[in-house]
């Protein structure tokens, strides 16, 4: 049903205004008519009462003398009142003395009443008044007054009210149709604007403000709201567009990745952040002879050699938790059941928030390389052993030459001339020098071997051991060796000790007359520790700062500075084997500072060639 609630505002306003106007007019009309009727009745009552009194008073004589004519004449004056129908004068005994009737009527006389009475009936008014003489009732006057005057008056009034009502309503309707626009038009505008927005989705539409009232404020707020939505809508569109672009790019990248992965000779995989593998390339299936379903997730673990599995899983879980790259060598089972060594690497890909989104990895068959490495390691060990044996075997005759030439020079001093003693001295010196060279060569060979199963060592301990080995030289020179707190590093302690020992020994050797001061420190620099051994010695000409690291390179032929010139070469060999570098900063006379770096993390390659 089409109720008032659902009507358009325009009609609603019209109905409301018209209802109010007509209601008010009707009420006012009724009020006026009712009030006039009441007033008129009151007036009529008073008028007839005084008329009756006047006629009663004037009829007293006629009644007292029982003179109907005089009474009739008296009553005849009532002709002037057209609405008076009948007037009668009764004697005390109730007989009629005189009567007046309007010429056009023959109405009967109303009965006389004992008392003074004025009674409205439906169509007329009956008045009964006693006629008194000296305080004594002598008769009664009755009047019958027709009330059609009242009805006429009411009719006239009603017509007037109706006409006024009609004109007023018409006026109200006209005014409503004009004035309702003030309220309805802004609302219609607003409705049109909202309809347009909802139908077209165009948030650029604005409602026109037509007034400064609440509707105006509503339009303003509505427009502001639209502006806000438009801005957000634009932003959303941009974001959506970017997202679509990104998705397209990602899809392209994925396709490129798949194509690349499928066309590479290596085995490629990707894994979810939890470590479960969700992609293997074709090479994987070909190598394992298994289907994706058999090896995806954690199914690949069945292919790893049982001896490698635990360490592999441990390392993989460590990478998953820390986000550090995975780097592991292990054996994978081929389709024919043979295990082959592989190097597996995986790197975490992160999203814009730095969260790991996936892992991308490769498995490279390094079986031949591994076998060659093993052979090489064996050969290397054999070579080391040979070097020790050779060194040992060479030391013995050389020592005999050096020591016994010394003994001869001491014991048979008196039997030899100056030349003989000098020649023996050459023998002793030559022997000693050869023995030192053999030792140094052995140390140089050893410097090239990086051990396996690397664990970090305390470099302070290595330094202490080096200082202990040099205790005699330090005591003789009166040197002061100080050190800052030193870190733990991935380097065999024997190697680190050797580097410290050679550098400190170098500082002690190339000292000035002053008391040698040697300071060892370390700072963290990038992914490495940078150690420094600083002295206050004679310093090095920058021209030679590369040359001094050469094997058997000595800058001084002076016997004061002994040695074979291999100490720094050993340092360089050790440091470089661990992926670090060594250099010197110095100028003549101002001391020297030797720097060397040690990578913070354990060396990746577990074996090396001496």
């Amino acid at each position: 049903m089409f109720t008032l609630r659902d009507m358009p505002i325009k009609q609603k306003l019209t109905i409301l205004i018209m209802a109010t106007t007509t209601g008010a007019l009707l009420l006012a009309g009724f009020g006026m008519v009712a009030s006039d009727s009441l007033l008129f009745r009151k007036y009529l009552k008073r008028d007839l009462s005084s008329l009756a009194q006047m006629i009663a008073d004037n009829s007293t004589a006629a009644l007292a003398f029982n003179d109907p004519r005089a009474a009739a004449e008296m009553l005849a004056v009532l002709r002037a009142r057209p609405h008076l129908v009948t007037a009668c004068i009764y004697r005390l005994d109730g007989t009629l003395l005189a009567r007046y009737s309007r010429p056009d009527t023959h109405a009967a006389c109303p009965p006389a009443k004992d008392r003074d009475e004025l009674q409205f009936r439906r169509a007329d008014l009956v008045v009964s008044r006693p006629i008194m003489l000296t305080g004594r009732r002598i008769g009664t006057l009755t009047l019958l007054y027709e009330l059609n005057e009242l009805a006429e008056r009411m009719r006239l009034y009603s017509v007037t009210v109706l006409v006024v009502f009609l004109f007023a309503s018409l006026l109200a309707l006209l005014l409503t149709s004009r004035l309702r626009a003030v309220v309805a038009t802004p609302i219609s505008q607003l409705v049109r604007a909202t309809t347009s927005v909802s139908e077209t989705g165009d948030y650029g539409v604005r409602a026109v403000k037509l007034s400064g009232d609440e509707l105006g404020v509503l339009v303003d707020r509505f427009n502001e709201m639209l502006a806000g939505i438009q801005s957000r809508d634009n932003h959303l569109r941009t974001v959506l567009h970017e997202r679509e672009e990104a998705l397209r790019d990602a899809e392209k990248a994925r396709e490129r990745f798949r194509f690349m992965a499928e066309s590479m000779p290596q085995k490629i995989f990707t894994a979810a952040p939890d470590g479960g593998v969700d992609y293997f390339n074709r090479q994987w299936m070909e190598f394992t002879g298994l289907s994706y379903e058999q090896i995806h997730g954690w199914g690949w673990t069945q292919l790893i050699h049982p001896d490698d599995l635990e360490a592999n899983l441990q390392s993989w879980r460590h990478s998953l938790e820390s986000g550090e790259p995975f780097h592991f060598q292990h054996r994978f089972r081929r389709a024919d059941g043979a295990y082959r060594w592989h190097l597996t690497r995986a790197h975490a890909m992160r999203d814009a928030h730095g969260k790991i989104s996936m892992w991308i990895g490769s498995n490279t068959d390094i079986h031949e390389q591994k076998e060659r490495e093993d052979e090489l390691r064996q050969a290397n060990e054999d070579l080391q052993q040979f070097a020790y044996s050779a060194s040992h075997d060479l030391q013995e005759p050389i020592r005999n030459v050096a020591v016994y030439s010394e003994i001869v020079a001491k014991r048979y001093h008196s039997l030899l001339d100056a030349d003989g003693l000098q020649f023996l001295g050459f023998l002793t010196e030559g022997g000693r020098r050869l023995a030192t060279l053999i030792d140094d060569l052995l140390a140089y060979t050893r410097a090239g071997v990086v051990g396996s199963n690397m664990t970090p060592v305390d470099s302070s301990a290595a330094l202490q051991h080096a200082v202990a080995n040099l205790a005699e030289a330090i005591r003789e020179s009166g040197a002061e060796v100080t050190s800052d707190p030193l870190p733990r590093v991935y380097m065999a302690e024997s190697h680190l000790q050797q580097v410290f020992q050679n550098l400190i020994s170098n500082s002690l050797k190339y000292r000035k007359e002053d008391r040698p001061q040697i300071r060892i420190s370390a700072v963290h620099q990038g992914a490495s520790w940078r150690f420094a051994v600083q002295d206050n010695g004679i310093g090095i000409d920058p021209h030679y700062k590369e040359k001094i690291f050469g094997v058997f390179k000595r800058l001084h032929r002076d016997r004061k500075y002994g040695g074979t010139g291999i100490g720094l070469a050993i340092c360089q060999r050790v440091v470089e084997r661990y992926g670090g570098r060594i250099w010197v900063e110095s100028s003549p006379g101002n001391g020297a500072t030797f720097f060397f770096t040690v990578p913070e993390r354990a060396p990746r390659v577990q074996s090396a060639i001496a």
Partner: protein, 144 residues
């Protein structure tokens, strides 16, 4: 095998194939004035024979201390040392390895088998310091 004609009560077995070195050790002991009777075994096999005899024959030579070169003919020094450590009678005998080797592996193995290590120096003065080393070693074992 040569015997020293001195009154000492302690017997030292020197397993050394290089005579010049053996003489230097004897010289050092003499210079240090240690009351030691030096018996020289020129190879590993000889040294082991001597130990086996000492285990079985109460009258045979029974050394109190062993100075052992590693690079011995026939049977090398470590093999001799392992044989000694397996013997009930000699498993606690003080052993000083005297060698030209500076190999860390050798030092480690010597330490594992409970032997001291002395690397042969290349000057006479340094070499004869083995006398003082030996004295301290004997004192440690309460043999002096």
């Amino acid at each position: 095998m040569r015997r020293e004609s001195s009154p000492p009560s302690l017997k030292l077995l020197l397993a050394e194939d290089n005579l010049p070195d053996a003489l230097l050790v004897r010289e050092a002991i003499k210079m240090e004035g240690l009351p030691l009777e030096v018996h020289i075994a020129p190879d590993g096999e000889y040294a082991i024979d001597l130990i086996v005899r000492a285990e079985n024959d109460p009258d045979a030579l029974c050394p109190h201390i062993l100075l052992l070169d590693l690079n011995l003919p026939k049977i090398d020094g470590f093999e001799v040392l392992r044989r000694i450590r397996a013997s009930d009678k000699f498993k606690s005998m003080p052993v000083l390895i005297v060698t030209s080797s500076d190999s860390p592996a050798d030092r480690k193995e010597a330490s594992r088998l409970g032997a001291r290590y002395f690397r042969k120096p290349i000057t006479f003065d340094e070499f004869v310091k083995i006398g003082a080393v030996l004295r301290r070693f004997l004192e440690e074992y309460s043999l002096l």
